[in-house]
C-alpha cells in the first residue's frame, strides 16, 4: 500500500542533536519508501513544531505521521492532538524514541545516528499499517459502591452523598466504624475516637443518599467502568429491620455470653444477640448463629419473648438476601488486620499472660471497654506499675514485614501517655529502633512524652521472658534489649508488656483483588495506579482504593484518601460519559475455532465464550489491551488494536533495516 508519511526529526535543542546527526537522519528519511516529507526541527513539541505537522497534513495530504523525538510517555498525547486538529485520526501517528533510548544513552555519534535511523525506519514501517481508531464511549452509572465502613469508607461515602450522588456502603461487620471505633484516644490531639467518629457514623446512617448494607459481603463483580453489577450477600441478622426500634432489651435478656474476639479483641464478652458497641450504626442487633442456643438446640428464644415490638422483630427464619446492584464505580476501603504477634515467639504473646497487643490495650484503656478504662493485668484486677512498650513488632523486620508500619511509633507514644495519665508514678519504657513522628503535631507529641519522663530505650527488643535471673526479676516480665545509645545489654523487668504490631493487609486481600480484578503487592496491600501521582486509583478502570487497604496509614490520611477517591468518582459521574482508550483486543468470530485458549488467559475475565455459536468474544469495555490473548491465539483470530501482528512484524523489519540483507559481515 502507499501512504504519505510525514517524518519529523526533533533536535530537542542539543539533547538529541548533540549526539544524533538529525539533519542527516531527516535527509535519509525523506528517501525512504512511503515518506512524503521529512523535516528536522529544533523543538517538535513547541507550537511551531506542531503547527508544521498540521500544515503538512493539510497541504501535503499526509496520511501518517512519525515524530522522532522523546519518549511517547512525554508527548504522544501532544502529537496525537496535533494530528487530530488537522483532521487526521490520532492513531495514525507513531513516535520513535531517539532521545531517552538513543541520544541520552551514548556518546558514540555514529552508533546513535545509526540507531536513530533504525528506530525511525521501524516507526515508518509500522505506521503504514496503523488503522484509524475511535475511543470507546462508556456511560457512567451515577450510583457508587463503597466496600468497607471504616473511617476511609465513611469519609468517601459522605463526600459522594453530600455531592448529591447515591452510594451503597457495604460493610462486613454488623456496624460501620471499623478499627477506629475500637480506639480510645487518637494521636496527637488525644481526641476521644468515638466522639469524633460517631457523629460521622450517624450522618451515614441517616443520609438519604446512602444505602447502608451492614452484615453484608460482596460475592461477585461483573461488568466494567460505569456499568458494574455487584452481587452482595446481605447476611441474615435474624432481626427484622422494619420493626426493630433498637431498644436493646433483647441484648439485656439474652442469657448467654461469648468472648468477643473481634471488637473487644478477646478481652471482653458480648451476648449472643449483640451490637458490636453501644453506638453501633445501624442500631439493629445481630444474632450470632453459631453460639445461639435456639439454633443449636431449639431452646431459649429469650430475645423473641422479651421483644416489645409488634410484630415481633426477632425472626429466626430470616434468610440471607442476595442483592444484585448496579453501580458505576467501586471504592475499596477495606482496612487492615493487625500482625499476629504469635509469629514472634520470643515476645511471648499468647504464652506469657501479661503480654498484650496494641488493640487489646486500646480496649483496656477505653472507658467503654471490658475494664471501664482501668489498665490492669490479664487477671483483670492487678494494676501494673511498670510497663514496657515494644515498637516494630513484625515491621521493619526482614523476617516478617520489611516495611515501616507508619503509625506504631505514634500510638506507642499515645499508650505511654495514657499510662502516665491513668497510673501516676508508673515507669514506662518504650523500646524503639527509630522514633518516626512525621505528621502535624507528631514531633511535639513526642516531646511531651519526653517531658512526662518516659524511658526511651533505643534498641529492638530481643525477647520478653518470665525466666528470672537477677534480683528484682522474680514474678516480672523481663525485656532483654541492647541499648544502642549506651552500648550495653539491658534486662528491664516490667509488670506488663505492650507489643506494637504492624498494620497488615487483610487476611483475604488477595481474594478481594481477584474478585474486583485489580492487584495487590507482595504484602497484600492493594496496588495504586501510580505510587506518587495517583494513589487512589487502581489499574482497573472504575475501581478505587482508600485508606489502610492501600498501605499503613493514620486516620487523617485515610480520610484524605477517602475524599480523594470520591472526588475522582464524582468527576466521572458529572461527566456522564467517558471515553476509553481503543487499544483493545477483538476476536474475528469467523476465524475463531472455539479452542478457548484465550478464555483463561485474560486477567480481567474479559473474554466470554458463546456456547451456542462456539466462539469466544472479547467484552470491549472490560479489555485492558494487554495483548496476551492475541499472542496466545493459535489461529491469529484475535487482533490487538494498535498492536497488530502486521504492525509489529513490520516494525521489526524496519528496525533491522541495516542488517536485513547480509552486508559485508564485520568480524
Amino acid at each position: 500500500m502507499t501512504e504519505k508519511v510525514g517524518v519529523y526529526v526533533c533536535h530537542c535543542g542539543t539533547n538529541i542533536a548533540k549526539t544524533v546527526d538529525v539533519v542527516e537522519v531527516a535527509r535519509w528519511a525523506e528517501d525512504q519508501p512511503n515518506v512524503e516529507v521529512a523535516r528536522d526541527n529544533k523543538f517538535m513539541c513547541s507550537s511551531l513544531g506542531q503547527a508544521q505537522i498540521e500544515e503538512d497534513i493539510r497541504e501535503r495530504g499526509l496520511t501518517r505521521v512519525v515524530v522522532a523525538s522523546c519518549s511517547p510517555h512525554m508527548h504522544e498525547k501532544t502529537f496525537r492532538a496535533a494530528c487530530e486538529q488537522a483532521g487526521l485520526n490520532p492513531f495514525l501517528f507513531e513516535m520513535a524514541n531517539i532521545r531517552e533510548h538513543d541520544s541520552w544513552i551514548t556518546e558514540d555519534r555514529a552508533a546513535a545516528t545509526l540507531k536513530a535511523k533504525a528506530l525511525i525506519k521501524g516507526a515508518i514501517e509500522r505506521v503504514v499499517h496503523h488503522q484509524p481508531l475511535e475511543p470507546v464511549p462508556v456511560d457512567i452509572n451515577p450510583s457508587t459502591m463503597i466496600v468497607g465502613g471504616g473511617i476511609a469508607g465513611i469519609s468517601a461515602a459522605l463526600e459522594l452523598a453530600n455531592a448529591g450522588y447515591h452510594v451503597y456502603l457495604v460493610e462486613r461487620e454488623p456496624s460501620i466504624g471499623g478499627h477506629m471505633a475500637q480506639l480510645d484516644k487518637t494521636f496527637p490531639t488525644l481526641d476521644c475516637s468515638a466522639c469524633i467518629l460517631t457523629p460521622r457514623m450517624v450522618e451515614v446512617g441517616q443520609h438519604p443518599n446512602i444505602t447502608l448494607l451492614t452484615w453484608s459481603e460482596v460475592e461477585a463483580v461483573d461488568g466494567y467502568l460505569g456499568n458494574f453489577t455487584v452481587s452482595v450477600r446481605k447476611k441474615a441478622r435474624f432481626v427484622d429491620e422494619r420493626y426493630c426500634t433498637g431498644c436493646g432489651i433483647c441484648i439485656e435478656k439474652c442469657p448467654h455470653k461469648v468472648v468477643d474476639e473481634i471488637f473487644e479483641a478477646g478481652l471482653g464478652n458480648r451476648k449472643v444477640i449483640y451490637r458490636p458497641f453501644p453506638q453501633a450504626v445501624p442500631k439493629y442487633p445481630v444474632i450470632d448463629k453459631e453460639h445461639c442456643v435456639y439454633f443449636l438446640r431449639g431452646k431459649c428464644k429469650a430475645c423473641q419473648i422479651f421483644c416489645p415490638t409488634t410484630p415481633n422483630s426477632i425472626d429466626f427464619d430470616q434468610q440471607d438476601e442476595m442483592l444484585k446492584l448496579q453501580v458505576g464505580n467501586i471504592i475499596l476501603a477495606t482496612g487492615y488486620d493487625l500482625f499476629d504477634s504469635r509469629r514472634i515467639p520470643q515476645y511471648g504473646y499468647g504464652r506469657l499472660a501479661n503480654v498484650f497487643t496494641s488493640l487489646e490495650f486500646e480496649r483496656l484503656v477505653n472507658a467503654a471497654g471490658p475494664t471501664s478504662g482501668r489498665i490492669v493485668l490479664r487477671d483483670m484486677q492487678t494494676q501494673p506499675n511498670s510497663i514496657g512498650i515494644v515498637h516494630c513488632v513484625g515491621s521493619r523486620d526482614e523476617n516478617y514485614h520489611v516495611y515501616c508500619s507508619k503509625v506504631c511509633c505514634m500510638y506507642s507514644l499515645k499508650f505511654a501517655h495514657l499510662v502516665h495519665e491513668r497510673i501516676p508514678g508508673a515507669e514506662v519504657y518504650n523500646f524503639y529502633i527509630d522514633m518516626r513522628t512525621p505528621g502535624k503535631g507528631y514531633e511535639e507529641f513526642y516531646h511531651r512524652l519526653l517531658d512526662e519522663e518516659t524511658h526511651f530505650i533505643r534498641g529492638k527488643a530481643a525477647e520478653v521472658t518470665d525466666s528470672a535471673r537477677l534480683p528484682g526479676e522474680e514474678g516480672k516480665l523481663i525485656i532483654q534489649v541492647e541499648d544502642t545509645l549506651i552500648g550495653k545489654q539491658r534486662r528491664i523487668p516490667v509488670d506488663m508488656v505492650i507489643l506494637s504490631p504492624a498494620m497488615e493487609a487483610r487476611y483475604d486481600s488477595r481474594e478481594v483483588t481477584k474478585l474486583f480484578r485489580m492487584g495487590c503487592d507482595f504484602d497484600g496491600f492493594f496496588i495504586e495506579r501510580h505510587p506518587k501521582l495517583d494513589p487512589v486509583a487502581t489499574m482497573t478502570e472504575g475501581i478505587y482504593i482508600a485508606g489502610a487497604c492501600q498501605g499503613p496509614k493514620d486516620i487523617p490520611d485515610s480520610v484524605a484518601q477517602g475524599a480523594a477517591a470520591s472526588a475522582r468518582v464524582a468527576g466521572l459521574i458529572s461527566r456522564g460519559t467517558v471515553f476509553m482508550e481503543p487499544v483493545r483486543a477483538h476476536i474475528d468470530a469467523e476465524a475463531c475455532s472455539g479452542c478457548r485458549i484465550c478464555n483463561s488467559m485474560c486477567p480481567y475475565n474479559a473474554i466470554i465464550f458463546h456456547e451456542d455459536e462456539k466462539v469466544s468474544e472479547v467484552i470491549t469495555a472490560l479489555c485492558q489491551g494487554c495483548g496476551t490473548c492475541v499472542a496466545a491465539c493459535p489461529s491469529a483470530s484475535i487482533t490487538g488494536a494498535h498492536f497488530t501482528n502486521d504492525q509489529i512484524l513490520s516494525q521489526i523489519e524496519g528496525i533491522l533495516w541495516d542488517v536485513r540483507e547480509p552486508l559485508a559481515v564485520p568480524v
Binding site: 514472634i344 515467639p345 520470643q346 521472658t465 518470665d466 525466666s467 535471673r469
Partner: protein, 295 residues
C-alpha cells in the same frame, strides 16, 4: 536398609560412648545403618575456625569428600560437628574460589569436594528420614508420660539454614511424644550450655548451666534429653561444682535422646550405656522396662 556415612567425631568413642552405643542400637532397630566413615578426622570443633579458617574448612571438607567418595550422606550425632560440616559444605558450594583452594589441598589425598553429600544431624535422621510414625510403631515400652526436657542446645539450629523455625522448633518434642514421653515446655531449650567456655571461663559457663538446671527444676522435669555430647557433658558433669558454687542442690539426670528411644524400643539399658552416668539416671528410667507392656 538406608546407609549413612557415620561421623562419630572426637567425643563419641570416649566421653560420649553411651551416645555412640545407643545411636547404633536404635538405628539398627530402624533399619538404618551407620557406617563409620573410614579415616575420618576432627571437625575443628569451636576453636579451629577462629584460628585458621581456610585450614578449618579443609579439615571438614576432607570428611565431606570422603563421604562423597563412598557415595553416602554424612550423619553427625554431635551438634558441633554437624554445624561445622554443614556450613563448610554450604560455603564451599557458594564460593567457588574457596572451593578451588580447598580442593587443591584435597587433591593430595586424591579427594574432591563437589557438594553432592548432604549433611544430617542424627536427630534429623530419626525425625525426617525415618519418620515419627515408623518410630512409634517400633515402641514396645512407651515412656508413660515421663517428663523429659527436649534440650536442643544452640548449635543445632543456628546459624539458621533456609527457612527453618529457629525460635519455636518442635521436632524434638515430636520425637519424645512419639516414644510416649511428655515433652516439657522448657523456655531455655535453645539456650547455650556454655560450650567450651567451661574450659576458658568456668564460672561464666557454670552460671549459664545453673540457669538451665534451675529452669529444668522449675518445670518439674524428670530428666533432660540432649542431642550433643558437649551439651550433655556441660549439663551433667558439673552439677556438683555448681551446687558447691551456688549453694544449689541439683541432681538432674541428663541423657541422650537415643538412650530414651532405645529404652522405648525395649533394648536393654546396658547396651544403651545407661548406668554409667555421673548423675545416675537409673532411678528415673529403671521402671520403663520393668513390666511387660502391650503395644
Amino acid at each position: 536398609m538406608k546407609q549413612y556415612a557415620y561421623f562419630p567425631g572426637c567425643s563419641l568413642e570416649k566421653i560420649a560412648l553411651s551416645y555412640h552405643l545407643s545411636a547404633i542400637e536404635t538405628t539398627r532397630k530402624l533399619d538404618v545403618e551407620l557406617k563409620e566413615l573410614d579415616d575420618w578426622n576432627c571437625c575443628g570443633a569451636t576453636a579451629y575456625f577462629h584460628v585458621d579458617e581456610l585450614l578449618a574448612y579443609t579439615l571438614c571438607a576432607r570428611n565431606l569428600a570422603m563421604a562423597e567418595r563412598v557415595g553416602l550422606d554424612l550423619v553427625a550425632p554431635c551438634s558441633g560437628c554437624y554445624k561445622n560440616m554443614y556450613f563448610t559444605s554450604a560455603h564451599l558450594q557458594r564460593d567457588p574460589d574457596l572451593a578451588e583452594h580447598v580442593n587443591f589441598a584435597l587433591e593430595e589425598d586424591n579427594l574432591h569436594f563437589s557438594g553432592k553429600t548432604a549433611v544430617r544431624h542424627l536427630i534429623e535422621v530419626f525425625v525426617n528420614e525415618v519418620g515419627l510414625d515408623e518410630i512409634k510403631s517400633k515402641v514396645s515400652h512407651p515412656l508413660r508420660d515421663l517428663r523429659v526436657i527436649p534440650y536442643y542446645g544452640c548449635q543445632i539450629l543456628r546459624p539458621r539454614k533456609d527457612h527453618e523455625n529457629v525460635e519455636e522448633p518442635q521436632f524434638f518434642e515430636g520425637l519424645l511424644s512419639a516414644i510416649g514421653a511428655d515433652p516439657v515446655d522448657y523456655p531455655h531449650k535453645l539456650r547455650c550450655c556454655g560450650g567450651s567456655l567451661i574450659i576458658t571461663n568456668r564460672l561464666a559457663a557454670l552460671s549459664m548451666v545453673r540457669n538451665l538446671l534451675q529452669s529444668a527444676v522449675d518445670c518439674e522435669a524428670a530428666v533432660i534429653a540432649t542431642a550433643c555430647p558437649m551439651c550433655q557433658v556441660n549439663l551433667e558433669c558439673y552439677q556438683q561444682q555448681i551446687n558447691q558454687e551456688f549453694g544449689t542442690k541439683f541432681f538432674m539426670p541428663v541423657v541422650y535422646f537415643t538412650q530414651l528411644v532405645g529404652l522405648s524400643f525395649g533394648i536393654p539399658p546396658k547396651r544403651l550405656g545407661i548406668g554409667s552416668e555421673l548423675v545416675s539416671a537409673t532411678p528415673v528410667l529403671s521402671w520403663i522396662q520393668k513390666s511387660k507392656q502391650e503395644n
